[in-house]
Symmetry: C2
Subunit: 473 residues, 2 copies
């Protein structure tokens, strides 16, 4: 669309001016009305320009005053390097995983390591009410099995929401699962046999790596760029070796990138040409900092090769274990595996979430959560700029819950993990995001914790520990 | 123990007299006091004699009148044949499974096919109350992840209840799962690699067969006796071929047998000698018709080779998906797989079930449920004796939810399944309980549906359809 093109171009021009220092820190931008007149565009298009710049954290809005250029200290932090994994399928295993996850549920720690929003950011009272109402309303109180395909209300609402990203799903296209990991597991089991090769983004969420290993797959880690995601050329080269591909294209953890629409379209066509199924993990898609919910690979799926997976675990209730998959041409296989491995999900919980989505409260909540996460992101980056060692690089997430930090080469984040734990801080060391010899000086921090002075202090402590390790080595 | 020996011997003598017709249908047995005097045993031991006979459905108690010999028509129905599977590991698949399970949740059908208690037999109001209370009481309303090992209250209560069968578990021995099938899946994944051979009872619950196939295992079906379970001699012969064994020793579905304590002890020792892990599926253990909860293989597990699995799916709430495993020496492997495949269970549900067990309401409910199931069993058998074809054989479950019916050879239960479905009746044809060419004339009926005239009519219709098929062939 012409309008899309225009607002992207204007936003790009302003972004360049900010990055090159033509526009200075703290400077006020022209008003929406003025921008609209200057470029001969509609007020709505002008608004979008600002929202886009805000999504990139280049500008900040102040109530009743307009938009201002974000502080320089944020922009000074460079991006992490593009990953350069070895293009050889691998199944050797990092050994830190269990210790990191053993901290799950420990209330004495500051859990930068767990990639979910804190309970303080969730609509707990409303959710509790929905559970109570669903429990009372259901004839057998949720003690009965669900239909195999899963709760109808929930599927209907997930289908309805897919219109926003041009997924155009119907409720019959969807199968509910026990959270998104369960959806991914069913997909991997349905599509692979032991010894097969799965292509994943590098760095990759450790749970996905471990899942692949537990199914005795070989893992091919594909290079990524920290802003645009998987390197399509690298993927192309390796296609003959690949049996199945799994991507987290929207606000990937740990890097937070959003793959451009054109890349999504290209990858879907490429994989379909080679009859390679694509498992799309879209559990962060609703957590966009920008004005619009991004499209998915599934949006471009003409031939049913894309298995689109999602959940409310990152937006509403990690502990509910409510997820789903739209498995395209693989529906029968997924249903059969669900029957064998899952049978049914807890029906009260699924009914309650279905009702919650139905009321529109979900959209209100998402607006609040997205705003908070983006504000958190800026505050984290400010703290990192202030407290972390010289030479620290930070990802520029366009949504989601994760910040990827690349410390100077000399700092091993496994060592940092151990020191931090003694100060009641838990981080995810970079080494668990790969099966290769990479990311020793990297870590992921979750930005889903509510911002407090205490949290800032923890980031300061973490920075000091990193500096201490850097000095010593 | 001497007392045990005495009551078993006396009960055995009376049972023989009933079976051989020395004691006649409807005849009244001596009172507890009289029996106690006659044999010089305590009143309690005498009571046990009657409870044991009642468990075998040989006698019935009438309030204020004492015990009477059960009607002959019940006793006339012979037992099904002992199974004779081919002793060769197999992985060919029956194709009826999906259609049977597609009927799950269909309220227009009489679901003899689904092996769970009907909602009418469950303490729905009390469970609903527990869910509401837990939702309100939990700080984050259950939106948070549980600790990896699972809800502490639930584990504590399952451990406490294990004293009754001399399991003597501690809460730290247990890991919660999403229902019992999930526990079995984690165990199989932890203990096997593709191509390994798993030994199972024949006939076997189809979900277990399918689970083994989905993990690319070869299945070795072992012969069973309809009253005592697996044929230990047959198992012994095949030990060198076996990597892992899975048994449902207590009130097995479909046959309903309870493996004698001595057999459990022998099998545990035998498998431990050969370092073969035993996955014990004990989800029916609390549904004993007799006076005492049977022991488990886990009761005799000295070396940690037994992975004891259970749930409340067959006793309290199928749809809650609350289960657990005490994995013995395999705890680390199971925890790791739980992290990858499950991560967390819905915490509200697990907390609510933990609380329910804590109140002692569970024991009250179990007493009611057991009594109802045993009454149902008798009524089913009466109806089958009245309406089913000449030559029909019926299992004599000592607990649980299943009745296994062997029709005359000429009647194919796949055909019966199709005819029955047209009359809104769903059954489980025998062919889905094996990967071999067996059980074409068998079927499983669930006795967990509330007894009504309508249900009796459905059994009559089923019997008539079977007769019709028998006449035609």
């Amino acid at each position: 669309m012409k309008k899309d093109f225009l607002y992207n171009e204007i936003a790009g021009n302003i972004a360049d001016k900010i990055k090159t220092g033509v526009l200075k820190e703290g400077e006020r931008l022209p008003s929406v009305r003025k921008l609209s007149k200057e470029h001969g565009i509609s007020v709505n298009t002008a608004k979008r320009v600002f929202l886009e710049l805000e999504a990139q954290s280049l500008v900040q809005s102040k109530p009743q005053s307009g938009y201002f250029i974000s502080p320089r200290k944020y922009l000074k932090l460079p991006l992490p390097e593009a990953s350069q994994p070895v293009p050889i399928a691998n199944n050797s295993e990092p050994d830190e995983l269990m210790s990191v996850y053993a901290t799950m549920g420990r209330s004495d720690l500051t859990l930068f390591s767990i990639g979910v929003p804190s309970g303080n950011l969730l609509p707990l009272a409303k959710l509790k009410k929905e559970i109570v109402l669903a429990t009372r309303a259901m004839k057998e109180g949720g003690t009965e099995y669900e239909p195999l395909q899963g709760n109808v209300k929930l599927r209907r609402m997930v289908a309805a929401r897919s219109l926003a990203w041009e997924g155009n799903l119907k409720e019959s296209d969807l199968i509910t699962t026990n959270g998104c990991m369960n959806a991914l597991a069913l997909c991997m089991m349905a599509l692979t046999k032991p010894g097969d090769t799965i292509a994943l983004e590098s760095p990759c969420y450790p749970g996905i790596l471990q899942l692949a290993l537990s199914l005795r797959l070989k893992v091919l880690e594909i290079a990524t760029h920290p802003l645009t995601g998987i390197d399509i050329e690298a993927l192309k080269q390796l296609l003959p070796k690949i049996n199945v591909c799994l991507l987290v294209p929207n606000f990937n953890t740990p890097l937070g990138y959003c793959m451009p629409d054109e890349s999504k379209k290209e990858i879907v066509a490429l994989l379909a040409d080679h009859h390679i199924p694509l498992i799309e993990d879209d559990l962060y898609g609703d957590l966009h900092f920008g004005p619009r919910r991004p499209k998915c690979c599934k949006s471009f799926d003409k031939d049913g090769y894309v298995l689109w997976c999602g959940s409310v675990s990152k937006t509403l209730a990690p502990g509910y274990r409510v997820g789903w998959v739209a498995p395209g041409r693989y529906k029968e296989q997924i249903l059969k595996l669900k029957l064998i491995h899952v049978l049914s999900s807890p029906s009260v919980i699924n009914e309650a979430v279905g009702n919650f989505l139905l009321t529109g409260r979900y959209e209100n909540h998402l607006r609040y959560l997205r705003k908070t996460l983006q504000e958190n992101y800026r505050k984290y980056v400010d703290a990192i700029a202030a407290y972390f060692p010289e030479g620290t690089k930070v990802s520029r997430p366009q949504g989601g819950l994760a910040l990827w930090i690349e410390l100077p080469d000399s700092i091993d984040t496994r060592e940092l993990y151990n020191y931090a734990l003694k100060k009641q801080i838990s981080i995810s060391p970079g080494r668990i995001f790969t099966l290769q010899d990479q990311f020793h000086n990297c870590m992921r921090l979750c930005i889903g914790l509510p911002w407090t002075d205490q949290l800032k202090l923890k980031l300061k402590q973490l920075g000091n520990l990193a500096k201490m390790i850097g000095r010593r080595s």
